[in-house]
Every structure is written in structure tokens, then in C-alpha cells.
């Protein structure tokens, strides 16, 4: 359960990345900008942001998974 919770953010980021790729696949950013349509640029910039989030979330998740459970926290949860 703990592992799933920790990996949730990278998994969501990865799903968002795939969705944005599907959205951007047939768009032409340059052509859209020249005709005053900003949506494809927003999609591509969002893709950059999501990819960055994915890398950061991956690092954070690896850290959380590798870190031993905090004994004090565990004790707090067990206390009545």
C-alpha cells in the first residue's frame, strides 16, 4: 500500500505525459502560432512541464522507497 502511494505521483505524471503526447501528435506548433492559435503551444509547453515533473517525482519516489520507515512515526501510528 505504501509503495502504491509513493508511486502515485510518477504514475499520474506518466499518464498525463502520454495524454499530452496524443494531443500534440498531429499539431504543428509553428503553423498554429502563425495563424494565432495558441493551443498546440500550450500543449507542448505542458508536455515539457509534465516531463520535468515526472523526473522530479521519480527522484522523490525513489528516495521515499529507499528511506527506511521512520521508527517514531511508526510508533505514533501504533499508539492508541
Amino acid at each position: 500500500m505504501r509503495s502504491i502511494r509513493i508511486l502515485a505521483v510518477p504514475l499520474v505524471a506518466w499518464t498525463a505525459e502520454r495524454l499530452l503526447v496524443a494531443l500534440a501528435w498531429n499539431q504543428d506548433v509553428i503553423q498554429s502560432l502563425l495563424t494565432g492559435h495558441w493551443t498546440p503551444l500550450v500543449v507542448v509547453v505542458s508536455l515539457y512541464a509534465v516531463r520535468l515533473t515526472l523526473v522530479v517525482a521519480l527522484a522523490w519516489s525513489l528516495f521515499r522507497l529507499a528511506m527506511p520507515r521512520d521508527e517514531r512515526k511508526a510508533a505514533r501510528w501504533q499508539a492508541p
Partner: protein, 378 residues
């Protein structure tokens, strides 16, 4: 603070550092995945982007792809897309002849658009007629170099193609102009001299020489051209000159230098290597990537249609074209680093059998295909 708590904090810090290193390593490996194979010209590394570019060439409708208010921008972008499509697919087929049947139809479609005067109506607006509309012009029309370079690549694969006669006439006309010009310059449009365009003209004549065995005698031209257009202190090519003189109207720029270094690879002139050496000096390598400075030291300016966006002094145009120059001159380290940069900032995406660079659109994909498949200059 107890020693156990201190140790715990140290372990956490170490783990966080380790996790960050692993995540950066993942990004580094993803961005550079296949870069060495692309540099080595392996088929499986070249065909995903080639398939994308070929499919678009065949699916192209009527008129230019771009539809802005500027006929110059629309026409020039279309010429660039079709020329780069021809160069990129042609370079793939030249290395892997088994793909000729797969890519030749897309190359022919691109060539037919290139030679259609309706593709670049702006030339007609400036000169009164497009250079391919009627008899060959005797001066100027350097934009024809882009068309001629594309035709040369088609001719390399199909020596007896129906456009071979036009390719011969165009090359002869452009070669005469290069050799006749005291400073080795041609006007692209009336009153406009762009040395990178002239370098493409020379490259197209050089490729014609390779394909047909004709010696156009461009060695002397390269010296005159360099004396007039290469900035002595930076080694960069000046982007624009005043017509009829060597007076600079724009700065020495990385985008034009990198395009010229690639194009002049077809001439086999030492000038191409000299320009590439300047790109090596003005590129910055770090964190596994690399980028090329747009303006020579002491100059500054904004991004434009040639450079694209400029970030911290490094431009998309200079960095993208430098890929071609790096492969032409065998600099694997710079190529791989530039490829990582292009993958991250260009938004590289692999989906099924196709590869695209989402930030560059149709033009960016065609351009990158031509650059990453550039053949070594021997």
C-alpha cells in the same frame, strides 16, 4: 541532537542525492537513446523520423504548408520543408539503398513542389518572375540554390530523372554566377545578400559536380567568399551583407554558419571545416548536452526566422543545424550532446513506428532529418 539522529539525517541526505542522480541519469539516458546509432547511420535509427517526413510529403495538399500573412515566410518555409525532405530522405537512401522504393515517391512529390514557381510566389513579386519561370536568369535569384540542392539529392539516386535537365541548367547558371562575382556573392532577392544562401548555392553546385562528374572549379570561389563574409575574430559567417560590398548589415551568426558548414560539405571545401571549427568554439557542453551560441561575442540580438527562439544566447537554429555540421565532420561527442538537447527541447516523441519532434512541427522534423543523416564530408 543524538548521534543516531545525525546518522539518520546523513543517510536521508545521501539517499535523496542518490535518487536525484538516478532520475537525472534516466533523463540523460532517455535524451541520448539511439544518438550513437543515429551518428553511425544505422537504419533502425534513421527510419522512424524518415517515415514521418515521407508520409507528410505524400499527404501534402495544395499550396504552402504555412499560411501566415507573409508570402515570403510561407514560400520560404515550404521550400525549406521540401528541400530538407529531399536531403534527409536522399541521405537515408544513399546509405541504405534498400529503402529507395520506400522513400523515392515522397522525394519526387517534394521535388515537384520545389520546382513549381507557385511554391515561392514571393520571388516573382520581387523579381517580376520566378527564376524557373522562363529562361534562366543571369544574375541574382540565390534562393534557387535551395531548390538546386534538393534536385541534386534526387539526381544522386535517379541520375536519369525527368528533372535532370533542369538540374544541369540551374547548376551551370549558378556556377557561372559564383565564379564571375568578384566577392563570390549572389543576391537572394534584389538588394539582399545573405551569405548562408550563397553557401547553399555553392553546396548545390558542388553536389551537381559529385553527381555528374563535372568540375565547376569552386576552389577559388571559396577563398573570395570567406574573405568577404567570414568574421575574422569569431570565425562565424556574417548573416547579411550590403549588396555590392562586404559591408555587414547583420552580425556574424551561428545559425547561418552552421547551415553553411553543412551545405559546403557538398563542395568538399576546407571552408566547411573552418566554419565547423568556429561552431565548436562557440558551442557550450555541459550536463550531457550542448548548444550553440547564435551571436558571435560582442554582438547581440533577438531571435528571428533563421535563429528561432534564443535562450541564454543559444539558438534553436544554430543548435539544430550544428547537428548536420557535427556529423559531416565526424564530431561524435558534439553530435550526441546536441542530439540530447534536441530531444529534450524539441519534444522528441516515439509513437509506434514514427518519431516526431513536437516543438518543431513539419519544418522542424524535415530539418532535423536532413541534419542527423548528413553524410560525412570526405
Amino acid at each position: 541532537m543524538s548521534s543516531a539522529s545525525k546518522t539518520n539525517r546523513r543517510v536521508r541526505g545521501l539517499l535523496l542525492l542518490l535518487a536525484t542522480v538516478v532520475a537525472l541519469l534516466v533523463a540523460y539516458l532517455w535524451a541520448g537513446a539511439g544518438a550513437d546509432d543515429v551518428f553511425d547511420g544505422k537504419a533502425q535509427a534513421q527510419t522512424p523520423l524518415a517515415d514521418t517526413v515521407a508520409a507528410r510529403s505524400l499527404a501534402h495538399g495544395d499550396g504552402p504548408h504555412l499560411s501566415s500573412a507573409s508570402s515570403r515566410l510561407n514560400g520560404q518555409a515550404q521550400v525549406a520543408i521540401d528541400q530538407m525532405t529531399l536531403l534527409g530522405l536522399g541521405q537515408v537512401v544513399a546509405r541504405h539503398p534498400e529503402f529507395k522504393a520506400r522513400y523515392l515517391p515522397a522525394m519526387e512529390a517534394a521535388a515537384q513542389r520545389l520546382v513549381d514557381p507557385a511554391t515561392l510566389t514571393y520571388a516573382g513579386e520581387r523579381y517580376g518572375r520566378h527564376g524557373l519561370d522562363g529562361p534562366m536568369p543571369t544574375t541574382g535569384h540565390a534562393y534557387l540554390g535551395y531548390i538546386n540542392l534538393g534536385l541534386g539529392m534526387l539526381r544522386l539516386l535517379e541520375p536519369e530523372h525527368e528533372l535532370a535537365g533542369l538540374h544541369d541548367r540551374l547548376s551551370a547558371m549558378l556556377a557561372v554566377q559564383l565564379l564571375r562575382a568578384p566577392r563570390g556573392m549572389l543576391e537572394t532577392y534584389p538588394g539582399e545578400i545573405w551569405p548562408p544562401d550563397v553557401a547553399v548555392v555553392a553546396g548545390s553546385v558542388g553536389l551537381h559536380g559529385q553527381v555528374t562528374g563535372t568540375d565547376h572549379g569552386l576552389a577559388g570561389w571559396a577563398e573570395r567568399f570567406a574573405t568577404c563574409a567570414v568574421d575574422a575574430s569569431s570565425g562565424y559567417l556574417v548573416q547579411r551583407l550590403a549588396s555590392g560590398s562586404c559591408e555587414a548589415l547583420d552580425a556574424p551568426r551561428g545559425s547561418g554558419t552552421a547551415l553553411a558548414a553543412y551545405a559546403l560539405g557538398f563542395v568538399k571545401a576546407p571552408l566547411s571545416r573552418r566554419l565547423f571549427a568556429a561552431l565548436q568554439v562557440h558551442s557550450r557542453r555541459g550536463l550531457g548536452g550542448a548548444a550553440v551560441r547564435e551571436y558571435a561575442p560582442g554582438f547581440s540580438g533577438r531571435g528571428d526566422v533563421n535563429a528561432g527562439p534564443i535562450l541564454f544566447g543559444f539558438s534553436v537554429g544554430a543548435t539544430g543545424f550544428a547537428l548536420g555540421a557535427a556529423r559531416t565532420h565526424g564530431d561524435r561527442d558534439l553530435f550526441v550532446r546536441l542530439y540530447r538537447t534536441a530531444s529534450i527541447f524539441g519534444g522528441r516523441v516515439d509513437r509506434g513506428p514514427e518519431r516526431r519532434f513536437l516543438a518543431g512541427g513539419r519544418l522542424g522534423d524535415a530539418l532535423l532529418l536532413a541534419m542527423v543523416t548528413a553524410e560525412p564530408s570526405t
